[in-house]
């Protein structure tokens, strides 16, 4: 039986990296008594995967994972027992069954939504006009890490959408498509460069959603399609 779950990675855990988070989730699965399946071989591990790795520094509002169970299990049991077994900064929000032949969540992710907000109001007042200009540019010079080193790219092409809300929050949808993956750090690095700043002010960073493309090629939150 395959189960997907939508979960939240709280702000306190934003310094926890992907592998550590995986391990925490695996241990929670074990604590919860969920009948998980293990891989074969010398070092058996729980068949768990996240739809997308969330990097250090960010919290996640609607993250997704899928896990393979070795026997039938009710979604109610999964939901309640997992939440009882998780620390308070990790919460299962929803869960459901993945049909047997369904493609892995990981392969469906096309983009990710990000929310950035400057922590101090005075930074925001000082910088927002420049930040607006930054996103309005036709060419946003940036760099991408590739196998053969850093490569210049026009970030514009990797940004699906960028808005600045009335309260100063920056909302972006960045591509996660193969060869076009854009991390928020690429945006902030470019911003530093373009704005001529040694460092950006402290910002809160949240991944709001993972997106997939619907039949018409439109980006829709992945969890809404499950």
């Amino acid at each position: 039986m395959r189960v997907w779950a939508e979960f939240e990675k709280g702000a306190r855990l934003r310094h926890i990296g992907h592998l550590d988070l995986m391990r925490a989730m695996q241990r929670a699965l074990r604590r919860s008594g969920t009948p998980v399946s293990y891989s074969k071989g010398y070092n058996p591990h729980i068949l768990l995967s996240f739809a997308s790795a969330l990097s250090v520094g960010a919290s996640g509002a609607h993250e997704l994972m899928e896990v393979e169970l070795r026997e039938e299990w009710t979604l109610d049991q999964f939901f309640t027992q997992m939440n009882a077994a998780l620390p308070e900064d990790l919460r299962i929000l929803r869960c459901g069954r993945l049909p047997d032949g369904a493609s892995p969540l990981m392969s469906r992710v096309a983009a990710a939504g990000w929310r950035m907000k400057m922590i101090r109001a005075e930074d925001e007042t000082a910088l927002l006009p420049a930040v607006s200009d930054f996103f309005a540019r036709d060419i946003i010079p940036g760099q991408r890490k590739t196998k053969s080193g850093m490569k210049d790219v026009n970030l514009r092409e990797l940004i699906e959408k960028a808005d600045i809300l009335p309260d100063g929050t920056i909302e972006m949808i960045l591509s996660q498509e193969e060869g076009k993956t854009c991390k928020p750090s690429m945006i902030t690095d470019a911003m530093k460069e373009v704005l001529g700043l040694a460092a950006l002010p402290r910002m809160e960073l949240i991944r709001t959603h993972l997106y997939t493309r619907d039949a018409r090629g439109q980006l829709v939150p992945l969890e809404e399609t499950l």
Partner: protein, 620 residues
């Protein structure tokens, strides 16, 4: 409380921020004002080291069980964090409620090794607590300490208000209650210290005076008030089955040194190795029952989700029904994919059967500790292991599919000669031969033999407590000799440590109160995290000794007279001075003392009624 935003701001800049963020599964957060007593448990090393320590988990759980107390954790920040905290004027804060160290009613340090002493100063300094005990105000925490190094409390006497000697499960809550009563009483700090001195196993350094002879040895040591007992008897848990053991332990997010369930199967050791302080301090031997262990392992596995259980004790192979215990654990956890590991196997007690069972899981390298290269020297140190034992066990291991073996030795042991160094080389060569004697198709590929030589440090409460340590020149010469000889043995990797650390360890292990000044000086000169090779600054330590007019050689290289008053003489650790001296004399003629389960040697712990099951057994 410290403004969370200020903490967050620096967390973004440090390496390994999860060391400082808390919120781990099974940690306890209580509303600050809901409990009258706040205990800050301090581990004077990094998070990764401290969170691997079993004693901390026991005491953390023990105190938090009480509805009138809360225990929160503190660790030593790494240098980058420390700088940022200083720059931003953020005090050392607890992992749970992020309160400053100085806000707690009491703080407790666990003393696991001497090289963490400057970290204690750094943590108090950063936490807003006066370093010198006598300068603390009534509002500041009462500073307590325990752990193996507390058995010689003197080098930290200036900084610690009260020590808990012996098993912490016994005294911790009594100490907490006494401090709480005092806090509510309004009496002065001295009243608290005197009340603490009334608890069995508690040593309050301020209540004792020391005088010295001209040659630097102690002339007198005595209590300066009627409340202070002349000797302090260590506390001993009588029955491990009845004593507190946590059923849930914090599960860190980030990787730590020992990231698993540690199941303490017994405490104490009956082997009587003469260099081993733990073996003397933790007497007598006490076992947990299989039933209790299975029950604890079950609860812990459920509460943590850990996939790894390690059996912990000084000498797990000596557990009476080890094979049965392992079989039962395997049976119990078969479905849950839990692996069981035996960390401190002794070569004369590894059961072939348990070897075969552990191998179902991962094959890591096997560790053997012959400690010395020849039978003569092994007899001197009473390491009851023979070459045949070693060869047999190593052969078993190679046949069982292991190909990586670590051999632990010590250099600088009393009476050591070149022949003993040659013996190490010889043993390593024999181990390699064993491997090639196993048919090629039956042995695992990739032979790796690591020979590791640590420098011997004489410790209090051992038969070698009177012995000098080898000088640095002697140790370096021996290291160079071994390096040269082992270079010619193919397949051997040789490891050794810089002698500076062992030298400082030797000074502080057997030091007196005057070393408090050296610690302060070294800390002022920037010494910290001295247990980390890259942070250890030997020259600064040498300078600190010189600044204080104290001689390193006096502490490390001097043979003590039998009648000398030793700085730790007021502590009754169980083993008597008479027993230790007997053992010392036997060592000088390479006479062994067999395992005391086969016959009691009257070490002294029999004076504690009913704690040693073997006391008096087979005595003639």
């Amino acid at each position: 409380m410290i403004d969370p935003n200020r903490i967050e701001a620096i967390l973004e800049k440090v390496q390994k921020a999860p060391r400082y963020t808390g919120g781990e599964m099974n940690t306890t957060v209580k509303a600050w004002d809901s409990v009258p007593l706040h205990y800050g448990f301090c581990f004077p090393d990094t998070y990764e080291v401290g969170m691997s320590h079993l004693g901390m988990k026991i005491l953390y759980g023990l105190v938090n069980q009480e509805d009138w107390a809360v225990c929160e954790r503190f660790f030593m920040p790494w240098t980058d964090m420390m700088e940022l905290m200083r720059e931003n004027e953020i005090p050392l804060f607890s992992m749970e409620s992020r309160r400053a160290l100085c806000e707690f009613d009491m703080i407790g340090f666990t003393l696991q090794y001497e090289m963490s002493y400057t970290n204690i100063l750094a943590m108090m300094d950063l936490g807003g607590v006066h370093l010198m005990a006598r300068e603390r105000t009534r509002e500041e925490p009462i500073v307590v300490a325990g752990g193996p190094c507390a058995f010689n409390p003197e080098p930290l006497a200036d900084f610690i208000d009260a020590y808990m000697i012996g098993d912490g499960e016994e005294s911790t809550l009594e100490v907490c209650r006494t401090i709480l009563q005092w806090k509510q009483s309004g009496a002065d700090r001295m009243a608290c210290l005197k009340a603490l001195a009334g608890i069995e196993g508690v040593y309050v350094p301020a209540l004792y005076d020391v005088t010295y002879h001209e040659d630097g040895t102690i002339a007198s040591f005595s209590p300066n008030c009627p409340e202070a007992p002349a000797t302090i008897r260590k506390r001993v848990v009588v029955n491990l089955n009845d004593t507190y053991y946590p059923r849930e332990i914090p599960v860190p997010y980030t990787e730590i040194v020992h990231d698993r369930i540690m199941l303490e199967i017994m405490r104490g050791c009956t082997r009587g190795c003469r260099f081993c302080q733990a073996g003397m301090l933790y007497r007598p031997i006490r076992e947990r029952s299989i039933a209790r262990l299975l029950e604890l392992a079950g609860s812990l596995e459920k509460a943590t989700g850990y996939e790894d259980i390690s059996l912990s004790s000084l000498s797990s192979g000596d557990y009476t029904c080890l094979a049965e215990l392992i079989r039962e654990l395997f049976k119990r956890f078969k479905e849950e994919h839990v692996s069981i590991s035996l960390p401190s196997l002794r070569i004369d007690s590894v059961l072939k059967e348990s070897l075969e069972e552990t191998q179902q899981e991962r094959k890591t390298s096997l560790t053997f500790a012959p400690e010395a290269g020849t039978q003569r020297l092994r007899d001197v140190i009473n390491k009851g292991v023979t070459e045949e034992d070693l060869i047999e066990k190593v052969t078993d291991a190679f046949e069982g599919g292991w190909s990586s073996v670590k051999l632990y030795f010590m250099i600088g042991l009393p009476t050591e000669t070149e022949a003993d160094l040659d013996g190490m080389v010889d043993l390593a060569s024999k181990v390699i031969r064993c491997y090639f004697e196993v048919p090629r198709d039956k042995r695992a590929k990739g032979l790796r033999v690591t020979v590791s030589a640590s420098s011997f440090v004489p410790k209090p409460f051992t038969p070698f407590q009177w012995e000098p340590q080898d000088t640095q020149e002697m140790l370096r010469e021996k290291q160079a000799y071994l390096k040269e000889r082992l270079r010619k043995v193919k397949g051997v990797n040789f490891n050794y440590h810089e002698s500076g650390t062992s030298l400082m360890e030797a000074c502080f292990a057997r030091g007196d109160r005057r070393l408090g000044a050296v610690l302060l000086r070294a800390y002022a000169r920037g010494c910290m995290l001295d247990g980390w090779t890259e942070q250890f600054r030997f020259d600064e330590w040498v300078q600190a000794f010189a600044d204080c007019g104290l001689d390193i050689g006096f502490y490390a290289f001097r043979r003590r007279d039998r009648n000398e008053i030793l700085p730790w003489d007021m502590i009754d650790a169980g083993v008597t001075k008479a027993f230790l001296w007997r053992e010392y004399e036997k060592s000088q003629c390479a006479e062994v003392t067999p395992d005391c389960r086969k016959g009691c040697h009257g070490c002294g712990i029999q004076r504690w009624k009913g704690v040693c099951h073997y006391a008096g057994v087979g005595r003639v």
